[in-house]
Symmetry: C2
Subunit: 358 residues, 2 copies
């Protein structure tokens, strides 16, 4: 094993002779069947989370349109303050479904394991995935396991695909954004990316910044319950969990879709002191840093306060706040406005400053 | 790049300054958006195969139960005689749905790319995936792209997840197998695994053995058209594409499910001369070697000939043949019977002799 992707932050102590995953576990024979039957299936069985042993799961017809999504998780390290790759791989896909306006139902989960990963570490990660599935009410119904030779993958990659029941209405779409529309964030930004960076670079901050990785099902439910995402009254233009690229990446995508300028009031953005401190230390702007349990919402002009009030009923989005407005397209697609009113372009990063945060 | 996973067998010639995938392409910023908009979306657009730009695809309600599956593909090399990882990743998931008795409809596709992969190589692989989707009538509707640093993944891993419409009836299930039931294979076995091994080990056989990688939709359709997989007359106990672990792995799983012995008549097994030769050279038994377009079918006693006749109407399964029967459980769960009648146990390999064939 060339890396310490699984060692850093690993919450379990391993004996010298811990069982490890070998290439043999990936080859369709007895060892693979044992790994699946002894370590994987039991964790995903039960009323809320169960998995079908064959290659494909048979699922009951649902009386709605479907939402379908997929995400690969290559986060390094595998364990970080507040979470691990197992939890993240389930929550990430649950959130993609939730912000698309769907009720998450089923997940399929595929493992690419680097030869040498200790089996107790795998167990621990699968426990996290199962717990996240139980907490969010989704069932992990199908899976796959591949093992690749040492140094051809970095510990463990997990891909999850999710199916949700589309609830009417879904958000109107970022192409419908109009000048005057309000931009909301559901909580402090940048927490996930900073937690990963501090853990990976072993910066030794005390206490270590924690990921915000959590399900966004409840905040979206609050919007429906308040009648703000309803067939008769849909004020929600767009919702998106601000993952890779952070709030900046989402706003640039939306600005491109609608052709207007999205203007952020910088002092309004919620940032925790630990994220602010670490970001300054690292020379990063929290607006570029990933969240995993925080979303941005664009709503019709005049409905910002109502939406914020509804969101604050969820403990996940207690700190929801309006952070900006849509304006007629100026010189830049996304701008930030400082305290004294100066409006500056917020460039879309080309990429690469924060590799492997999810 | 530590390996030649993409170089071996690559059908395109690259200039010295071919564009390559960088970490920046995976970070949610402008470069990632360009990669997706310029290289991925155009390949999957059109009437039969289209992809939705946001993180989740909205799909129309279907009036059937669903079948859901996932598979990761880590094959090495990425290109091999008769196919590549792009085609394989679509066909593999299509076949998992087809043998579960479903009509494959939608696929989501996630890329884990090693930094340094030339973009023209990625283009070529995505073209193959799109072509396989068109040929099998599935639509690639959602995707994800991650990039990991050089030497933390081996060129490219692809995970596909598929949704199919469950057609009634589905196979009865391997637990319903009874003594007297007949075991059928739809064509020569071991072709995919041998093609990969010969390519990877650069054994230089001429012509090089080709993979059998192809869709099993038509053979399954022939069974339905012949009224053998019908609500009023379902003779199909189980169907499975014999991938990792080959026919042996499937038969061991079925033997465990039903508690009987599956007995193979060795002289009846179709094996092409090139696979037989290469397998002998490598000291392998074709029964253990993966197929990617060949399935085994267990059918009720007395219906073997009818099923074979129906299967032979498809060009994919022209060489379908009965290769064994189910017997009362003897000493071994799976046996092979040689020409002179001697019955030998066919052990389930523990694994590992053929890593990374899919």
């Amino acid at each position: 094993m060339t890396s310490t992707a699984w060692q850093l932050g690993c919450p379990i102590t391993l004996g010298d002779n811990a069982d490890r995953v070998t290439l043999a576990h990936g080859e369709g024979g007895r060892l693979m069947r044992q790994l699946i039957e002894e370590h994987i299936l039991p964790r995903f069985s039960g009323s809320e989370a169960s998995i079908a042993p064959p290659d494909a799961a048979l699922l009951q017809q649902i009386e709605h349109d479907l939402v379908f999504t997929i995400d690969s998780f290559v986060v390094s390290p595998l364990f970080f303050p507040g979470g691990d790759i197992g939890q993240l791989s389930v929550i990430g896909t649950v959130n993609d479904l939730a912000v698309a306006g769907a009720q998450p139902l089923w997940i399929s989960l595929s493992l690419i394991i680097e030869e040498g990963l200790p089996i107790p570490v795998l167990d621990c990660i699968l426990d996290s995935a199962a717990a996240a599935a139980r907490e969010t009410g989704v069932r992990i119904v199908a899976g796959d396991t591949k093992v690749v030779p040492s140094s051809t993958a970095d510990g463990l990659f997990i891909t999850t695909s999710g199916i949700g029941r589309a609830l009417a209405p879904t958000p109107l779409g970022p192409e419908t954004l109009e000048p005057g529309d309000e931009l909301i964030v559901t909580g402090p930004i940048g927490r996930h990316g900073i937690a990963i960076l501090v853990a990976r670079e072993q910066l030794g901050l005390t206490p270590p910044p924690e990921t915000d990785c959590t399900s966004l099902i409840d905040p979206v439910k609050q919007l429906r319950d308040a009648g703000l995402l309803a067939v008769t009254n849909n004020v929600v233009r767009a919702m998106r969990d601000a993952t890779r690229g952070g709030v900046t990446a989402v706003f640039h995508e939306w600005a491109q879709a609608c052709g207007h300028t999205l203007s952020i009031l910088e002092p309004a953005i919620p940032v925790t002191p630990d994220v602010r401190g670490a970001a300054e230390l690292l020379g990063l702007d929290p607006l570029h840093i990933a969240c995993e349990g925080t979303m941005v919402v664009a709503v019709k002009s005049g409905s910002g306060d109502e939406v914020v009030e509804a969101l604050r009923k969820s403990h996940v989005s207690q700190q929801a706040t309006v952070i900006g407005v849509v304006k007629k397209r100026g010189v830049s697609p996304v701008t930030t406005q400082r305290t004294l009113g100066q409006e500056l372009p917020l460039d879309e990063p080309s990429g690469a400053m924060l590799p492997r945060i999810c």
